[in-house]
Amino acid sequence: MMQMTGAELIVKLLERQDIRTIAGVPGGAALPMYDALSKSEQIHHVLCRHEQGAGFIAQGMARVSGRPEVCLASSGPGATNLVTAIADAKLDSIPMIALTGQVPLSMIGTDAFQEVDTYGLTIPITKHNFLVRSAKDLLDVVPAAFRIAMSDRPGPVLIDVPKDVQNQMVSFEEYPDVVVPDAAPSFDIAAVEEAAKLIEAAERPVLYLGGGVIHSGAAHMAVTLAEQASLPTTMTLMALGAMPMDHPLSLGMLGMHGARYTNYVLEEADLLICVGARFDDRAIGKTAEFCPNARIIHIDIDRSELHKVKDAHVAIAGDVGQVLSELLPRVKPQLRKRWLSHVESLKGRFPLAMPGVDNPRSPYGLIHAVANCLDDSAIITSDVGQHQMWVAQAYPFRRSRQWLNSGGLGTMGFGFPAAIGAALAAPDRTVVCFSGDGSLKMNIQEMATAAQEDVNVKIVLFNNQSLGLVHQQQSMFYGKRIMASRYERPTDFLKIAEGFGMRAVDLDPAPNPRATLAEALTTPGPCLIHATIDPNEFVYPMVPPGAANSEMIG
């Protein structure tokens, strides 16, 4: 018979799931959990400076490891500060466990100090959530949370634990089993055969890969399928790296900021094979005009994604890795000379223009200069905005989980704490966070966390003293009326970084910015690398919001 408090049981159950790092911020209603953590020899607690930072650090760890990672916060403002990071994990299907303290059961509903309805708040932004009413329930709830977070389409799960439940003694005979993901749903082999026939019969097929390919660990199979059936392959923002950018079949990213030829190829497709993607509006533009002549094969583990935006001719609800392993032996090797040479000629006529790629003081040039200092083992994160799109277009991603970014929610402030999480999960790798001055300010306090943990994270800051993508849209679509997108007062980011105990390097005055950059990237430890960018540099091409992908500007 074992006996312990609810808080101690939580920590034991986390340890049994092999959790080694937790990111969090303590507070009154979480103190029993923190007390229990003080006795854990396995779990390293990373003290964040804001709960949103903790949520994104957990996400960064999970995006690298592919398994659920944990963040921890107190009740009330602690929980509300986690909300953005939880919603972000939901939209990008990231497995994460959020643990929150809550006021004692008897005080719930009384507007007690630091009480907020965390359960109610997080219903629409979690895959599932729990309000634990007795310590004994933790024996079921904690394993269930892990199982739900990592099974099928992954997602965040929140466990709200009232303080008295944390303190309550619980006796039990045995620990529950360590949980593993549920078996993926079985799927119809006849549909797979139908898909193989469509692929064989198609003249102008395109493979369209999404984040599900990364989650499923199926990138190599997707590439094999493309090679076997001669499929030009495009990737969503979430799938970049699934096929190496320099692969001859790669069309790069599609959609709002995809290359012209990519969107043109899709327009001509007679078959679209969508694997682990969800026809997001930023990827497909105006729905009715996306791949207007194509039949659609849609493979996704989430049944509710099938036929959601576009009706599929063949829809297969299954793990994309399992489906691809059934599909591969059924797809006849084929060399589509005509189609591939047509794609090649579109690529030649409408390539991605990268002005300034040889100049490290321009956006594309800086991205290439960074890439030239790193190998494929480096992890790249980004914040949200112009710099994100430039990196998505131009960085030579070559493997799964090399690229971490906030796709669905588009959260400014994601990149830096996610990079810290990535570095904690993969301490032997260099982690580079491309950021903008607008985004970086949204979680800049985590510089203190990075310095404390001495993580190998380099921020490459594109400073245009603007909310660049807002500035761009106002310039292009709102009659150049620039409203609230310019920061009138400059910020001294170098001083801020140094104030937090981080090294800072400025490329602006450097006589040889490539050398300065290389030195900064190869020196271990956290470092801010600052570069001024012209605010009138825009991301092109651009599909106006709501327009068809064929209506690109630039």
Partner: protein
């Protein structure tokens, strides 16, 4: 179940409470088996509410030993309904969803409480 006393005399459809018709869509009754704990209703209603999908009627009672409940929802069949059902089926606490015709008697018997 004693269906004779009410349904023998009038067609069942007359027992469906009058709700504003939009666009001539049919009414549909959904039957959900769910885990019985506080918060389940909130999960389900939230799904409909955030898509501005009105639920015209709701009934919920525990069944058997009380570890599960059955929820009956009266909704309009519009083109989003199949997608809605798939979203509902995804909820961890939802065990099954059955779709019935709008004439299903479960709401009809409640008519007298809404006079």
């Amino acid at each position: 179940m004693s269906e004779q006393n009410t349904s023998a005399t009038k067609p069942l459809s007359e027992f469906i409470p009058e709700v504003p018709e939009h666009n001539g869509f049919h009414k549909v009754v959904l039957e959900l088996g769910v885990a019985n704990h506080p918060g389940v209703m909130s999960h389900i209603c939230g799904l409909f509410a955030r898509r501005a999908f009105n639920v015209e009627g709701i009934l919920c009672m525990p069944v058997g030993t009380g570890s599960t409940s059955r929820i009956w929802l009266l909704v309009f069949e519009d083109q989003r309904l199949e997608k809605m059902i798939k979203q509902v089926e995804k909820l961890e606490d939802v065990l099954y969803v059955n779709k019935h015709a709008g004439e299903h008697p479960v709401f009809g018997r409640l008519d007298e409480f809404f006079q």
